[in-house]
Subunit: 130 residues, 6 copies
């Protein structure tokens, strides 16, 4: 084995069990997703990541489904399959429509294109942008 | 000179002048930003990029300021200074508040982190995500 | 077929066979891994990559397992599954513990996060860093 | 202004002042670096990032200077100038020698190369790596 | 389902059918590839992407097979399996030899390496490059 | 100082002087560019990188100016200013026209866009591509 195993719900104890219980309660699910089962190899990373995500993804000035769409936009740019799939699902559950997802993907495509046009032509920053 | 010069408003002619006029009209500005002045080295790229952005960034299922925030999120992930600065300004003009921008940046940070936690631990895609 | 086949140990001849023999000797293995079997499509790239890696990964000021962990950190950032798996295994063989790997992954996550916070907020380089 | 200002030590209050004081105490410095001054635009992000970094970068199974070198390796891969400069300095302060930094950079270069050789040739994962 | 289904040739209607017909005609194929079947979830993105690619990849100052090789070089750097495979095939069909592909991959590897050596050592831009 | 100084032509000795002389001879220049002056902090990296580039960039199945354009395409994708500028200049010196550079940049833009459309829609690899 070159990478880490998943820690099942039954194997969880101490800090890991505590966070697993929080996840199930907060998400209203009965089965822990593989992301968290795998993070459990490092209880410290599991706890910190869970608490950080709770803070960052909570309802704020941006609606929850918009936050998920931004999450997906970054994950697409980084080509993270798991992240794209899980946060696309989360976006849908929180109210994002197919139309919104289609529009988000189109923006991600164009931004990745113009980001490189800017580099390719070494565009100088305008004074009004400084 | 290793890269391309900017084409000023006065030097513009033909297709380039036509697009420059469209940009000034659509954006209600009198001075063409460096991005477009530089793209003008390839009239074909200038026109295609302008028309594509018009289509992608128009009001749709997502509000215009949200579209700009997604644009910035990708540009941050790709470290494109010009794009971050110009689309942050566009987001503000279209109504994005500092609070919304702060939240967007926090999400970009977390997504970039968890994207790599997923890779580092080689997290297996759950059945419910397939 | 859109990509390249593997060159098996038996098909190897000339420069390829020579490098395959060096790899088996240096690594104390009897079966050539797919990475090298595939590089063999370009004997020049095979030889240059093997010799370069021998130089870069040899014991130096950094311990061999630390070098492998740095290799994995980059591979995680680039989402290269093969590289993550093969260099995680190499790190373990050279003495890296699970605790060290967990800590490395946590750093990779945080670095990817703060790299983007720096871009998002366009943090100015301090004078003491210049 | 298209991006955020720095919050100076004198402007800091409440949560921001508290974290600024912790940073000065922990790092034994009298002037807050620009990274933290800028993060202070979002007190929540400031606090979370500071606490997360304290946890991740503390002495563990990996020596502090090694942790900094891994941080730099990721920052080089992402081309984050501020992060490269600040964490290279931190690595030196914690004991990393020029020789160690040179070796780390060489590994980052080679890993970025072979990551792409793997993609270019679409190398199949060996059974012993699964 | 967390992502989008493919739109089959039979389900296609209106704008989608029109573009599908153009693709089959231009490429002289009878079966639409998955890329286009999936883009069809957004008829607007389907049409814009197809027309943009037609423009960008047409014969110009660069030969068609060279254009495909550049496309593959970028796709390798971004680790996009589908894109690497489909554009490698396109390059071959348009006349790229295995030797040309091997050389392109070697360049992609070296460029990714020296790009990071430049960042790692923070190489200053020479006056003659400004 | 947080990063490395340049080694001037006058300070060069031993292996470094030898490579500097080779570079001046091969490139027919009298002043060593900053890239090599900085690599000289690690004579081993200097020599290996110089020899590797000589091998990879030599005339082969691909013309020298095409090799440089592929180098630039990768460097744009990675946003490496120094590399974009130096290899754009090299491409021009070897015969690349502005039209070729414009076309290359347009391809880099489109490839970066469609790479993300593929990820965003999680396009399935066609059987004919396997």
């Amino acid at each position: 084995m070159t990478v880490f195993n998943k820690i099942s719900d039954k194997e969880a104890s101490g800090k890991v069990k505590e966070i697993f219980d929080e996840i199930k309660e907060a998400r209203q699910i009965t089965e822990i997703p593989n992301f968290w089962k795998t993070m459990a190899n490092s209880p410290e990373t599991l706890e910190r990541t869970w608490r950080s995500l709770q803070q960052v993804m909570k309802k704020g000035a941006l609606a929850p489904e918009i936050k998920e769409l931004i999450y997906v936009a970054v994950s697409i740019t980084n080509a993270c399959e798991y992240c794209i799939k899980s946060h696309t699902l989360a976006a849908k559950k929180k109210g994002a429509t197919d139309e919104m997802i289609n529009e988000m993907i189109a923006i991600v495509g164009m931004a990745n294109e113009t980001n490189r046009l800017v580099e390719g032509y070494q565009v100088e920053v305008d004074d009004f942008l400084k």
